[in-house]
Amino acid sequence: MSLKRYFFFLFFATCSCLSAQVLRQGDIFERQLIDRFAEEMENDLGLSCDGTGGKFHDKLEYIEMSFNLVGRATVNEARQWAIYVHKRFLDTLNADENLRPYLIEFPFPPDRAGVSIAFCNPDGSKQSGGSVYYISLIGDLLSYSSIDAFNDRFLSLHKEEYEDALKKVTPGQKPAKHQDTPNEKTLDALFSQFTQEMADKQQLYVWGIGCNSPENLQEIGAKFTHFKPLHQEDARKLMILAVERLIGLVSKQEAFTSLKPEQINIRINFRNQKYTPYFDGSVESVTLEKGVLTYIRDPIWKEGDPFEELGKPQVVVGKESYQEARSLVENLN
């Protein structure tokens, strides 16, 4: 790259705040409203806005905002949050006299404003310990989801019509933050200790961890990333270490009955710093699910190999019961 281009790049990197956007009046009012409402929600309810969207051609046809809230929520609590925030959003929209000429209809109807709330842990990760993770009110539908921490996938918990949801909440009542039960507090502390230990001692970095219900703990699911390539023996050892430690921590808590390995689902993905599998013959992932460890390997690929080689199927290179795996690790030791 020529020196000239290099400096040009640096110039862009450091002076990229020079251009100004010319906004049309309606856009400005919409933007002001969003900023104002986001600030109001943050100050009043502790909601942090992390996304906006909508449809504004000549008129504002649809608008949506998404928020994060630190804490758990039951389905009932999540409903109260969504309905309350949505009502405040609509009231703010309809009260804005500047924006009024740009609304496609006045009053702006509920189904033209969308709201979603993600319930998070203090570090921003997804709430998945027996809580709703995500509620969205889009159109006429409220949709409640939790997270399967093992696979990092949304699980649909419940859906209901907006009109039905309205009947189940106290109108205008400000939602209260979920008060953690003693079991929830214990579980949070346990998960925090476990994930911190795994990071510090085993370089296992948590992606997500959760359970069925803190009040009746029957199942724990977790997903980790390890940023080094490992072969089957070392992957096995890592998994056994993690599971034994988790079982040990749970058994120390009076609030919970001891768990068996069959009640723990853990996925460990082996990735480079870009979260890409190694494709070098090492294990792509090891999972413990229903008491069985499964080792998956990607095809081997080297720089210069044709892309087609990467398309070869992943293979299961090993499958064994937890007890077998544990014996193998003990024999090694």
Binding site: M1, F8, F9, F12, S16, C17, L18, S19, Q21, L23, R24, D27, E30, R31, I34, D35, A38, E39, S48, C49, D50, G51, T52, G53, G54, K55, F56, H57, E61, Y62, S66, N68, G114, S116, A118, D123, G124, S125, K126, Y134, S136, I138, G139, D140, L141, S143, S145, D152, F154, W207, R271, K274, Y275, T276, P277, F307, E308, L310, G311, P313
Partner: protein, 317 residues
Amino acid sequence: MTTMSCYEGIHSEFLNDDELYWRAVCRRYRPQKSVVIEVPSSRPMSRGGRPVLVPAKGYLNSIQLDCSIASNQWDRLGASVPRGNVLDHIGQLLPKDGLLQLVTYQNGIQNTLPDFLSMGRAIIDKLIQFYNPMPLVIGLYNRSSGITVDLDRSVKHLANQPTETVLRTALFFEEFARRLSAQHPSFRWLHIAHSEGGAILTRALQALEPKESALMKKHLITLSYGPLIVTPGDLTLRSKSTYSKGDNTTLRYAEKYRKSGKDQYDDQNLRVDFVNSLDPPKSILPPGDHGFEGRTYQDSLAKNLKTLAGNIKGNNL
């Protein structure tokens, strides 16, 4: 097509009008093109009922580029994957009654083929949660040629200078748009871009012929993560760009859209979200929290795809 030096004249002629400029560039170099995507016939296209992302070869006349493709509609084509151009069978691969018909994606700089494949896997893993039937997925690999060449190309995108990558992408986009509109008049197409892929997207959209450009404005939705250039909404049906606050690579290019400490910037042309980093970087050096497959962008992608599905169902596009 292969010699780019003649761009210079066009560059100065149309420099002040992005669309005219790019269109002129494309016209001059638009070959007697045939856009082809071929899939190795021996690959299984699904496993356990889930579509598998398979490597494919894309051809623009004689120029080859790596692609990837996944579809759970292969069974409509019978037991064997057809030889020849997959695009000739696109009508059978598009889920007619799906929320989305096509999803395309493109990576940023310094990405290997495994990175590209892994990006596609991550996208499919999210899509299957919210889109049933699954749309046809096609990845367009933005080949890395080393950090110097990649950075040089990025500078050209920023400076609105032509690159072969943009031109190729534009020609593929045109072909997809034409094929889709012929098969499914009300098709919905989502393009997901990361990093430099976001700049290629914007420049490629500016390079389209008017007819295809109009199709994009009616049918294309874009989601960009840490894009080098924010895609203006007036080039598409709906566009959103998302930046991690811990992104030390491209966040600087979007800082101008953050209004005096506010985290949202919204207007008709640009929708930009700034989200908290789930993996805050330990230093201010690049890349920081820029990886597409890191927790921050994957979390945003999942939320955006879920919301998009709700908006399509609610007719809010």
